[in-house]
Assembly symmetry: none
Homo-oligomer: 172 residues x 4
């Protein structure tokens, strides 16, 4: 059923994705969909949550600059290309329209989760790094904003510059 959601998202886009369509694509009665998820947003969240945890992992290089860059690249590709990334953006979009979805997204906190890992690894080399919540948005914010506003990511060299910028700022 979640596959049906993923398929539909890629095939017809979020705007044209309907509960009726999901049910039909999954070969399932409409009532059955409603039995498990109250809203389209909940289905989307579940449909992408696991994928996020699988796809959004930075390669563990061991060197701070490479670790950050690696994560940024993965994040950029995820948001721009991955179906799960599309789902996530759709969700974030819906959150701007609907407070219930906003709560859902905030609680899931998908993006920060992955950033946390890499930041913890990098912290020893960046003693002046602020607390995690701020550091996380400093790291990912530029990429997220760029993708949401333009639909395209940042080129790799800008990502590298961004990683370098942060590392320099986080030195004492």
């Amino acid at each position: 059923m979640l596959e049906a959601v993923d398929d539909l998202l890629v095939d017809v886009g979020y705007a044209a994705m309907t509960m009726k369509g999901i049910a039909e694509r999954a070969g399932v009665g409409r009532q059955t969909v409603y039995r498990w998820w109250a809203t389209k947003a909940e289905i989307l969240l579940e449909a992408c949550a696991e994928d996020v945890r699988e796809e959004l992992v930075a390669p563990r290089v061991g060197e701070a600059r490479e670790d950050l860059l690696g994560y940024l690249v993965v994040l950029d590709r995820f948001l721009v290309e991955s179906p799960a990334g599309l789902a996530f953006r759709a969700l974030l979009g819906e959150a701007q329209h609907d407070p219930a979805v906003r709560a859902l997204v905030r609680d899931a906190d998908l993006l920060a989760l992955a950033a946390r890992d890499v930041l913890v690894r990098v912290r020893p080399s960046a003693p002046a790094m602020p607390d995690l919540p701020l550091a996380a948005v400093q790291l990912i914010g530029p990429v997220v904003t760029q993708v949401l506003a333009t639909g395209e990511g940042l080129p790799r060299d800008l990502l590298a510059t961004h990683a370098a910028t942060l590392l320099r700022a986080w030195q004492p």
Copy 2:
């Protein structure tokens, strides 16, 4: 008519805002709305574009750190509290669902516009600042991402930390 849009956005939210509702609130025929704007997104864009230019201006302090912080505070308040900010977020949200809206938002480029001013003013004190497109998302990305993901802004001290972080990183 654009007032009706603003009012409705505040009163009922984006999700419940309909072309029908806009027309009725404005005391206008539905056809008349369609005559001037093809989509809800175009109305929203026009409804908030001017407000953005009015509201989203950093106080000109003259000192780099204060300039950046001033802008960040204004941006944060704009996104969280201003009706025009709500409209902008709704628009950015719709852009995730609909490529046509994405193009609209990208072309309007509302956020970067204001950031550009403050960055140009600050540049002399921050010689290592990257080119504007990247610098702009480095500046505003964290705030934008935080607001979109949680609906709430960053507290003032974190904004200050962020400004300081960037300034330090942009030193040679």
Copy 3:
């Protein structure tokens, strides 16, 4: 639902009868109306078809002149007074504007049906009666034309004269 159509036709007239109105009067969704009838004409046809078969029956007197007159009186009253008759006239009217309705009306052939019965019964007393299609319009045409053109029927004595005229003409 067909009752709602009949009611509306009598209450507001054909011109002011809308699909929306029918749905509301019947306490039914608009889509439900469209699910069963593609056009207003189809609803009308169904709304009056059965009534026609019930109302448009000549009393079986047994005497040729009385049989014809009886039928003419019934037809005249049906067209002028009965809700089903109004529906039929509305339908015939719409048929002049819309070829699809014309086909519908032609195929239903509601008027001739009833006339056929009485003509078959009368034929033994009227050996020179032409073939049924012509005889039928000779019988009913004057009444139909009169009602359509004026909205009022023919007085009983003229109907009697007409019956007598036809019977005389159909003698060898």
Copy 4:
């Protein structure tokens, strides 16, 4: 302007004929149309009234049977083929929907007018002919009914039979 109405009726049919369309076709402002005719029906009536008087004239043969048949043939062709005939049928159709149009049509009394001439000429050969109003509908009713109900007229031999039938009936 009336030409525009005639043209439109033939080109797009009554159902698709709009006031806007008439005005544009005539190269005239919409308000100007409304200044002279309050309703579509009034325009139609005026557009066909004169044509009726020109087209709906029986050839004056001098022999009763031929006179009647001639008129029936002309009437049949008029109703089935002539643009003015189409307009007249559209008008008669609208009259079933709208009492105002019904009054208009009744007062114009277009059909009977022509029938009256021929009946007056034939009366000397048909002493038992009823009063004009009935005789007129006896003559034209079958043709009118046939055309309205099926869109097609009666073949010439049936028209001849009908004329003969009436003449026989109208003998003493």
